[in-house]
């Protein structure tokens, strides 16, 4: 249970990291689609990616509201892919890879509704041996744990106790909502509130257009819970429902449509969409090398230069978003221009075949803080 405001802020920072971490895999798959093809898949992935950007902003609003300071520029904020996400008793790897049945299966797991059966099931001890992180299954050293927690190698760890993780992302947000309620109850008993943040740091709807739903200005308990509930609902669905109260389809069911080749319509039961047919052409995809790193590009100096430039511009983009989340929300409008440039840069990388590795294409590496030995 979250006991202090500092813990709550740490949870919310991890929430920012988590929401952002879905973007590189979604965008890599999105831009791997051949231009002019796969319009159904393009639309579905794009909508989900845009809503993840809304979620990032909503979590930033909650963090600002409780007097925290969003930091998207901290080392390790962007994971070194693959990263791991929780799925009940198991966890699974999330790769940067082209659109494919495997990628879609991963997306479904990312968004899968997963409410724990009981209170005890909400937390799962980490299995270090299976992860290959320690040979005998014991926890890594405290230093290694700290590094692991910061790096985003494993997402969904319990902040402050990384020997355990949440059984699902939904449970992670459930814990935050409980923490907010608990801390706010405590504060109110002595005539105070935890919502002491500067209201000018809230990102409000006029700064967030066409962004997959309305951004919520967080000023107190109700709006905080509403913002976090929206994050959970858009992903997994509200109590497993396909449509939310605004007739938006939850991400899980959006992706399921691609798997089943049919759209959902109102009145459908989960797993049984009855809307129009939908077509996926698995072959109209650039074969992006999975989890590509700068070190794979040594034989292609032009691609390497562009990949490095992409990483720099992505870092600069996160810096701008971060300023927007820290009192200059109007910068979000300019960040949209950067997003378009990022899209174009990703497209160029993904359309370039690698030499000497027949059948594989380049892609963005998202190595924002490469260690020395990884830099060619």
């Amino acid at each position: 249970m979250i006991q202090t405001i500092e813990e709550l802020r740490e949870y919310l920072y991890k929430g920012l990291q988590l929401e952002h971490a879905t973007l590189p895999p979604y965008l890599t798959a999105l831009y791997s689609l051949h231009p002019g093809k796969n319009s159904d898949a393009r639309h579905v992935i794009r909508v989900v990616a845009v809503e993840e950007m809304l979620h990032l902003t909503l979590v930033a609003n909650v963090l600002n509201a409780v007097g925290g300071t969003p930091n998207l520029t901290k080392r390790g904020f962007v994971p070194n892919y693959p990263t791991r996400l929780p799925a009940g008793p198991d966890d699974f790897e999330v790769h940067l890879r082209p659109f494919s049945p495997e990628a879609l299966a991963t997306f479904l797991r990312i968004e899968k509704p997963a409410q724990a059966a009981s209170e005890e099931d909400r937390f799962v001890p980490m299995d270090w041996a299976t992860l290959g992180l320690t040979s005998n299954g014991s926890a890594p050293s405290p230093d290694e744990l700290a590094e692991l927690e910061e790096s985003g190698t494993v997402l969904g760890l319990v902040p402050g106790d990384p020997t355990q993780r949440f059984s699902s992302i939904g449970e992670f947000y459930e814990e935050i909502i409980r923490g907010i309620n608990h801390l706010e109850d405590q504060a109110r008993k002595v005539g105070k509130t935890i919502f002491t943040g500067n209201p000018a740091h809230q990102v409000t709807p006029e700064y967030f257009y066409s962004g997959g739903g309305d951004v919520i200005k967080v000023t107190g308990r109700d709006t905080a819970v509403a913002a976090l509930t929206l994050v959970a609902e858009q992903g997994e669905g509200l109590h497993g429902a396909i449509f939310d109260n605004q007739d938006e389809i939850a991400h899980y069911y959006r992706f399921q449509q691609l798997e089943m080749g049919k759209y959902y319509q109102k009145g459908d039961e989960p797993g049984d969409p009855s809307g129009p047919d939908l077509h996926v052409d698995w072959s109209a995809v650039y074969p992006v090398k999975p989890d590509i790193k700068l070190k794979h590009l040594e034989g292609d100096p032009e691609i390497l230069a562009a990949a490095k430039e992409f990483n720099q511009s992505y870092a600069a983009f996160l810096t701008d978003i971060n300023l927007a989340y820290n009192g200059q929300p109007d910068l979000l409008l300019k960040a949209v221009w950067e997003m378009f440039r990022i899209r174009d840069s990703m497209n160029r990388l993904i359309r370039n075949p690698l030499t000497g590795q027949s059948g594989e294409n380049a892609g963005p590496t998202f190595e924002l803080w490469p260690s020395k030995e990884e830099t060619p």
């Binding site: 032009e302 230069a305 562009a306 430039e309 221009w337 378009f340 160029r348 075949p353 030499t355």
Partner: protein
């Protein structure tokens, strides 16, 4: 028995040559996503031998081989101008500033208009094509695909974007055109 270059090698050779004559890097050319479509277009229109001749010609010679001119235009505007159109006054006028492809700005009395389409053709359902095709299936003038237009090098060359596509974001017009510079040392 010696093996000739594979299809992949031929495509790479085409892109390498195209980089030399367009002034853009191979990375940028692949980045358009049009390399395969353009190579196929040139092969279909002038045949593999003509490409080979063009590639082995000296790129510094002026005027260049008409096929080379066609290849350069293809990358810049996404439109195939057959080498038979080289030097045509009406085509030059059509592509002059202020004209973007509707109709020739000045009529060309030297040839009847339908002769364009008569030389033309083939193939694949090109957007907006009309008129008769030549018996050999060639076509003198067509937009390769809807993506070819938006991927034309000319937009990057002038630091702009194709009208109606690849929008750079609401309000971004407040910025001056952005010229990219990481390939400036090349050619």
């Amino acid at each position: 028995m010696t093996q000739g270059p594979t299809a992949d090698e031929k495509l790479r050779e085409f892109v390498k040559f195209s980089a030399a004559v367009t002034g853009f890097s191979e990375f940028d050319l692949w980045g358009t996503g049009q390399a395969e479509a353009y190579y196929e277009t040139v092969v279909n229109q002038v045949g593999p031998d003509a490409i080979q001749n063009a590639i082995s010609s000296d790129p510094s010679v002026v005027p260049a081989d008409p096929v080379v001119q066609s290849i350069i235009k293809l990358w810049y505007v996404g439109v195939w101008y057959g080498p038979e159109l080289a030097g045509r006054v009406d085509v030059a006028a059509w592509t002059a500033p202020g004209r973007s492809g509707a109709k020739p700005a000045v009529s060309d009395d030297s040839q009847p208009e339908e002769s364009w389409n008569r030389q033309a053709v083939p193939g694949q359902h090109q957007a907006g094509e009309s008129g008769a095709y030549a018996e050999d299936g060639r076509k003198a003038l067509f937009v390769v695909s809807s993506e070819a237009y938006t991927e034309g090098l000319l937009w990057r060359a002038i630091g702009a974007h194709p009208s109606g596509a690849k929008a750079p974001g609401y309000g971004s017009w407040v910025n001056p055109p952005a010229f990219e510079n990481y390939q400036k040392e090349q050619v």
